[in-house]
Symmetry: C2
Subunit: 518 residues, 2 copies
């Protein structure tokens, strides 16, 4: 086991999380959950230092010999020039070691503040934050099938996330609200996160001005001084893999960094398309692209928080379609985790991915494989923890329920195996003895309430009882559950003056704009 990793010793926070769980059970609700997870299991490290260095050396050679293009952002080129990179037109090449040096100013851990301080999250180290899926144009449910997402759907998913004790973050574009003009929808999305959730959230990344609008709205809630000193909003940006950083993205993440807000820097590599088909090569590319993006945030504002992201995937040989939740990206994530820790940066990894078009067995095989990989590799921020179907294109109401249930199970999983006299239960064996059962023994009575994860969606009943209740499948149960949760949703309190200030800001800004639909 790696040095300094947790091992059976529970922290004060975890004990209090458990007490909270017991309390919420006693009150018959799911409760509010923990603000985030502090993992009590080590990371799963699969490669030796020697092989990690071979990947890092390959990334360094890609950066030095092939280089990365920075398009449509002359200021970025100027920042690189000043930092000593070699510029040739749009192509930037980096001496080995240069980016690692620049990255030394990036924090290893930081807090993203929520408007409810009890919901603030700590990102980095042993901390794990689950956020909903991001970016689907479509939504799905069992009643109405697939259709384009609307603002109503967007608000529904923000409410469902807020109501789940097993998510920690409100996410960003939980679905595209396609009934609102492209140049205006960021106002409504940020407002929905601030109004219907009291958790941290992500702002717009589709244009520099929209990123700045998002940050301005956060300033109305948190105060401009607080925002300059603390992270309250983040932007999730994609590399245009292979080896291209687009100006839209770099101007956006530079805007977040300038405001001292965090960026999540994410290469999106489908092996065989935006990268090589071999895992080691795709990982080296991912490392090169992420380091360049993260380093540019530090040139913009040294010390700005930034997250080392990645998104590896594979391709079906038969159809040429992208595949998700497959074994190669899953095992590759473990290596990505080791590389991120060697850079001392917080890590974002893949969450619940699948190409299935239904919340069926395929969907949860692929999602569980992918989600467990993110947990094992040590990801600190798990975007896409709940909702995706259809190869990232659809946000499913039923899948959202299934995924948050899995997120709940992963809380217990990451608590690990605790070792103390109560857990070892020697007295219970003395009390019960050979051949008897533990149902009513003192140790069971003292521990059963908090002993096991209790799924809200699994059916554990005997066959006959399940059959008598209508032989309902998991998707149908999930359908009933999201409707119940939405019906019972209560908005967290929001200061009236703040709400008014937000609505005024949006009205004024929208008033000066023509609708744009692209």
């Amino acid at each position: 086991m790696a040095d300094g990793q947790p091992d059976g010793q529970e922290t004060k926070r975890q004990r209090s999380g458990r007490t909270q769980r017991r309390e919420s059970r006693m009150h018959g609700t799911e409760g509010v959950g923990r603000p985030y997870i502090v993992r009590n299991i080590p990371t799963y490290d699969i490669l030796s230092e020697e092989n990690l260095i071979r990947i890092e050396t390959t990334a360094d050679r890609i950066l030095a010999e092939v280089g990365i293009e920075f398009r449509d952002d002359p200021e970025a080129l100027e920042l690189w020039r000043k930092a000593g990179a070699q510029i040739d037109g749009l192509l930037v090449k980096f001496e080995p070691g240069m980016l690692r040096e620049v990255l030394k100013t990036a924090p290893a851990e930081f807090t993203q503040h929520a408007r409810n301080p009890a919901r603030s999250v700590r990102i980095g180290g042993r901390n794990v934050v689950f956020a909903p899926a991001y970016g689907s144009p479509f939504v799905m449910d069992l009643d109405k099938g697939r259709r384009y997402g609307t603002l109503q759907d967007f608000e529904n998913f923000v409410k469902l996330a807020q109501a789940s004790p097993w998510l920690h973050h409100s996410g960003g574009t939980v679905c595209e609200p396609t009934d609102v003009a492209v140049n205006k929808r960021h106002f409504d999305m940020v407002y929905a996160h601030l109004r219907y959730s009291d958790r941290p959230f992500l702002g717009s990344v589709t244009a520099q001005s929209r990123a700045e609008d998002s940050i301005d709205m956060a300033r109305l809630v948190f105060g401009a001084d607080f925002v300059d000193r603390n992270c309250v909003i983040m932007g999730n940006v994609n590399v245009n893999s292979p080896l291209v950083w687009d100006g839209t993205m770099t101007t956006v993440f530079r805007a977040y960094a300038r405001a001292n807000q965090a960026s999540v820097i994410v290469p999106f590599i489908l092996g065989g398309a935006m990268g090589p088909v071999t895992n080691a090569g795709a990982i080296a590319q991912s490392l090169a692209e992420t380091m360049a993006g993260c380093a540019l945030t530090q040139l913009e504002r040294p010390g700005a928080p930034v997250i080392f992201g990645n998104f590896l995937s594979s391709m079906s040989l038969r159809s040429g379609s992208p595949t998700f939740g497959t074994p190669e990206p899953a095992i590759g994530s473990m290596v990505i985790g080791q590389l991120a820790r060697r850079l001392n940066l917080p890590l974002r990894c893949s969450g619940n991915f699948t190409t299935s078009k239904l919340p069926d067995a395929q969907a949860m095989t692929e999602s569980t494989m992918s989600m467990l990989a993110a947990v094992h590799c040590g990801a600190n921020f798990l975007l896409h923890s709940a909702g995706f179907l259809d190869g990232l294109l659809s946000m499913s109401y039923e899948k959202f329920v299934m995924d948050t249930d899995l997120c709940g199970a992963l809380h217990s999983y990451m608590d690990g195996v605790k070792i103390d006299d109560n857990e070892l239960a020697l007295d219970a064996f003395r009390e019960v003895g050979p051949g008897n059962h533990f149902f009513g023994c003192a140790h069971t009575m003292a521990n059963y309430e908090t002993a096991f994860w209790d799924s809200q969606t699994a059916d554990n009943e005997p066959f006959e009882k399940w059959e008598a209740a209508g032989s309902v499948d998991a998707a149908t149960r999930a359908n009933a559950r999201w409707k119940k949760v939405l019906a019972e949703y209560e908005a967290p309190p929001l200061d009236e003056g703040t709400d008014e200030a937000l609505r005024d800001f949006i009205e004024r800004r929208k008033a000066g704009m023509q609708d744009a639909w692209y």
Copy 2:
């Protein structure tokens, strides 16, 4: 990473497995697969030595202070007495360290021979063997629902396992053939494994005479001398947890050991019923029970192969029903794996468990969680790798297909991330450069055939194409697949004289018996 663990260096066997995969793809079939997996990823070790020792000390105190009852087997008590244990009626107590000393004669690795030598499996070390689920009284499919299993079902599952390139073992009681008398069905089961599969298999454990019949049938195939020197059949036996070894089980596993055949020694602990609700206590109990069983095989015949088994599970607080595929047993498995390796014994762990009554999203969430735990903890023999639904009570045709598909994915997963110049792909980056795609580049053309796991049951098509093809879910695809595989099944060749000898033996033995139905 633990010392001496594999790390990115592929073995000759793996290379040849990959070549085989490519060849079978080129011929348009799934091919025969590898005889077993040699893992190229380390185990996932979560507890420190200090905490492992606390668990071991608790197990030692259970053995010394509480003891284990050995019922209805006076010879077992006599073996313990001679070995120096303290006997009080049926209760046996063991000085700390005594069982570890006895266990030193057990092999760390052994080969179970198949009648087709190319299918023999190596059990222990870095080797991983997948076997079908075991013991369900019921079978299920989408067409006919749940009903009692028959010999026809049994033969079908043996054929489906044989046809899958992703299983390595034919298993044992793949379902109960309830249409055959209880005292005669072991003949038909062993015959089916020998006739319809050429992989290794498990024999009867329901009575000493049936275990001996099973071994006698193996002698007809392998020769008595060979059987005395080599493992060709195994018996999977359960502890009567807590802390009771029943005479039926001990006389059975002593019969296997006497014949130099392997036993799998499995405590079955549902936390809160047959053990404490806390994970550490259940693990300590499991260790104590397993050590006692494994040690008794060594008193019967020092050096007989034996497998350290375990089966941890949890309970639903709301219904009192057992639950499977939940987080606590999954993370507990990692500790069990560490403990087995400290004893230098091959490990059996949980496979694909679920309480779902359908091959739906719940089924595969729970199965994937459980199966990945078995892979990560370093299990060498994964019984229950395919087929279970309904809390172990039903063998599902559709679930069998889904699970074997997951087993296939886990082959690629356990290959890990290989590191060499081809995998690192530096030349591909030089060839493709920033902003271009890798579809037709030389590196992709040279590697794409073997790059990614290619599921036979997942649907990765775009939504529109999937919808046009009928919006079929995973369970329906699995239904079509098992029918196709059964229809195309071809029995492996079996020497006619051997077949006749087996049928004669069965006829003679059955002729002297009255049907018994309990």
